[in-house]
């Protein structure tokens, strides 16, 4: 009995510091964000007025916020779908097919992930440049000299996809490595027997690989939602700063602008609350929809 009690205290003292830090740095700030979203406040002075849900009412009539919302959702969908497809494809090829230079490709695909976002943004700004950019250079080969260039970062219908392109390029390597790790855990014997039964590579992928890494895939879906929201802010900040004319504004960049440069801190926090609820809800829904019976080998 005494020993049992002692163990309880031991666990308590071991987890207390982490728990305390969690409360101080996660729970309290989050609570404060919720509280401040109910005030009209500029961020500096002591003048704070409680306005209840006023900020939220303004928010849902704010067309610029809705545009940022739209852009964020578009980025989450486009970036996730394309990255998953490509990362899964590359992972399957690199782990199932033996060929020369396999390790080389592993490294090449992973490199974008260790580069800083600022560098990636600078690289893509150069690639997308309207006069000397790589993309327009290649297009000019087909269209002939003197043709109108495509304004990758100026045309408001294209620019959000230009951003998505940079985000996908950055993300593929990371997810590829994650999928490869769980693919490595699938026993070779399954593929061998499938091969004997006459299943082709594609059938093997859909019937064996995909179901067996399903849990891992589900986890990465949540990552995709969170990282798309975070990463898009960094890319936007460096590449376009929300422009031209707000066409690449995303959740966090709009929140930042409202909280800090428009002196409406409370309103910015209200945006923060919406982002919080949105990302939680979306992750929950995605988790629910993708729930399958776990297959174990």
């Amino acid at each position: 009995m005494d020993r049992h009690k002692g163990r309880g205290w031991f666990i308590f003292w071991c987890s207390a510091p982490a728990f305390l830090l969690f409360i101080i740095f996660m729970v309290i700030p989050t609570f404060n964000i919720f509280r401040m979203s109910l005030y009209k406040w500029g961020g500096f002075s002591a003048r704070r007025t409680f306005i209840g849900l006023g900020n939220f009412r303004t928010l849902f009539e704010d067309m610029k916020f809705l545009q940022a919302f739209q852009n964020t959702v578009l980025l989450i969908v486009v970036v996730s779908v394309i990255t998953i497809t490509l990362a899964l494809g590359y992972a399957a090829i690199l782990s199932r097919i033996k060929f020369k230079g396999q390790n080389f490709f592993r490294i090449v695909f992973y490199i974008p992930n260790i580069l800083s976002i600022v560098i990636i943004s600078a690289v893509f700004s150069a690639v997308y440049d309207s006069h000397n950019g790589l993309l327009n250079g290649i297009l000019a080969l087909f269209k002939g000299e003197g043709a109108q260039p495509v304004y990758w970062l100026g045309n408001q219908n294209i620019i959000i996809y230009s951003l998505a392109g940079a985000m996908i390029w950055q993300a593929i390597g990371y997810y590829m490595v994650m999928y490869m790790a769980s693919m490595a855990a699938i026993p070779e014997s399954l593929y061998e027997s499938a091969g004997l039964e006459g299943a082709g590579k594609l059938t093997q992928f859909f019937q064996i690989t995909l179901p067996l890494i399903w849990n891992n895939l589900r986890t990465t879906l949540t990552f995709f939602i969170i990282s798309s929201i975070n990463m898009s802010f960094m890319f936007v900040k460096v590449m376009t700063d929300g422009g031209p004319d707000g066409s690449t504004e995303v959740f966090l960049s709009y929140m930042y602008k409202q909280a800090y440069t428009n002196s409406t801190y409370g309103y910015g926090m209200a945006i923060g609350v919406v982002i919080f609820i949105f990302s939680f809800a979306l992750s929950g829904i995605v988790n629910l929809v993708t729930r399958r019976e776990t297959l174990e080998v």
């Binding site: 002075s45 003048r47 303004t58 997308y128 006069h131 408001q156 066409s247 800090y260």
Partner: protein, 432 residues
């Protein structure tokens, strides 16, 4: 006994540790933005101030000053004097204006300049302490001291005009005619670094179409002001100018790529860009077309013989209301207008203050730039009036940022004007 001695000694040492801190006067905390003029000017001016008064100066300079001082200020640690202009992306100065957190500096104007027998207000050139940039609440009180100024207008390659034999447009009609001529040669009429540069342009244009009284009403969001023929004329000009703008400009119109847009002028790909005199230093190392020579003019007039305006952009120095050392701070503000400080600012950094008689002593490119007001152009001063913060409304984005969409054709002139009217109505209600 020995124990008592030890305690006494320890106490003496502890007190000794704090004594010097108590005896010394609190230092003056000065925070200044480091711009193209460099940080050295501030070090020397701070040293000059200390030599005159014996007050130590704790100086902070940084290119992104907001990042350094904002968090300190939120924690209650305010600088005593801050040199940071309005119109910056982070809008810290605007935030403090909106929050009523600036110290009233009106009494500094009738103080003597430190070390001189002249009053501060007699040294500052006329008009500078009467605009909404220094008196943000329109109540006759000065909260921000005017510092380095620069005339803004249209920059061009004078060499190209000489080579082609083109004349500088004196009216907007001439401008359009020139635009068509240049288009035939594959040169665009217009480019801009970022849409934010339309502020100086648009303010000057408002003066041109309606004069000072109209400008005053427009910048205070008067009811129906945007439906007047004057405002419509200004919108027409910007709308038309958008169609004459180099097509790649919106792609690069952000903080990281705007130099590419400025490069268009140096490469003879576009004729005019709105800018300030700092552009010469900014592009000093950039490659340029043969025979390139900077040219600078005020906006063309709206009618034959009409007034032409050049916006005067200037930076501001202010004292936070929460500053601890206000007396010394005000002395410092008076000192920056002394001949001694002015010569440091100009000689070490090339920064020109609005001090009576200073512009006459300039030479070279600077002489051409700063003499624009002597050669017929009128000075436009002021900006959109400060309001209480309005959620989701950023008027600069609405008025200037939309120009990107006008150029790319994503929004029409009428959509733009409609949005301005809606936001203007909201801001009028929040006016201070």
């Amino acid at each position: 006994m020995k124990k008592l001695m030890t305690i006494a000694l320890a106490l003496a040492l502890t007190i000794g540790l704090f004594l010097p801190a108590m005896a010394q006067e609190a230092p003056l905390k000065v925070a200044a933005i480091e711009t193209a003029y460099g940080a050295e000017i501030w070090q020397e001016v701070a040293a000059g101030f200390t030599a005159k008064t014996g007050i130590k100066v704790e100086l902070v300079t940084d290119k992104n000053l907001e990042d350094v001082i904002t968090s300190q200020m939120k924690a209650g640690d305010y600088p005593d004097v801050v040199m940071l202009a309005t119109g910056r992306k982070a809008a810290l100065t605007e935030t403090l204006i909106k929050e009523n957190l600036l110290e009233d500096l009106t009494d500094v104007l009738s103080m003597k300049v430190l070390g001189e027998e002249v009053l501060v207000k007699d040294k500052i050139a006329g008009g500078f302490t009467e605009s909404s940039l220094t008196n943000p609440y329109g109540d006759g009180k000065t909260y921000l001291a005017p510092m380095f100024y620069s005339p803004c207008g249209l920059f061009y390659n004078a060499g190209l005009f000489a080579e082609k034999g083109w004349e500088l447009p004196a009216t907007w009609d001439d401008m359009w005619a020139l635009g068509d001529k240049a288009k035939a040669e594959g040169i665009a009429l217009f480019a801009y670094p970022t849409a934010g540069y339309f502020d100086a342009f648009f303010y000057a244009l408002l003066f041109e179409v309606g004069g000072p009284e109209f400008f005053e009403k427009a910048t205070r969001y008067a009811e129906g002001i945007w439906d007047t023929p004057e405002a419509q004329q200004a919108f027409d000009i910007v709308g038309k100018l958008a169609t004459y703008t180099e097509a790649s400009v919106p792609s690069n119109a952000n903080n990281d790529n705007y130099l590419k847009n400025q490069q268009l002028i140096l490469d003879n790909k576009a004729l005019f860009m709105p800018n300030g005199t700092w552009v010469v230093g900014e592009m000093a190392d950039a490659p340029r077309a043969d025979g390139f020579q900077w040219g600078f003019m005020a906006l063309p007039a709206v009618t034959e013989g009409g007034d032409r305006y050049s916006y005067t952009w200037f930076e501001q120095l202010w004292v936070p209301a929460e500053a601890q050392n206000k007396e010394a701070a005000k002395q410092f503000v008076s000192y920056v207008y002394s001949d001694e400080a002015a010569s440091i600012f100009f000689e070490k950094g090339g920064a020109v203050q609005p001090i009576v008689g200073l512009a006459e002593t300039l030479e070279g490119d600077n002489k051409m730039f700063f003499s624009i007001y002597d050669t017929g152009a009128k000075a436009a001063l002021g900006n959109f009036a400060a309001t209480e913060p309005v959620e989701g409304v950023n008027f600069a984005d609405t008025v200037f940022g939309t120009v990107n969409s006008l150029v790319s054709g994503d929004k029409t002139r009428d959509q733009w004007v409609e949005a301005i009217k809606v936001d203007s109505d909201k801001l009028r209600e929040a006016l201070k």
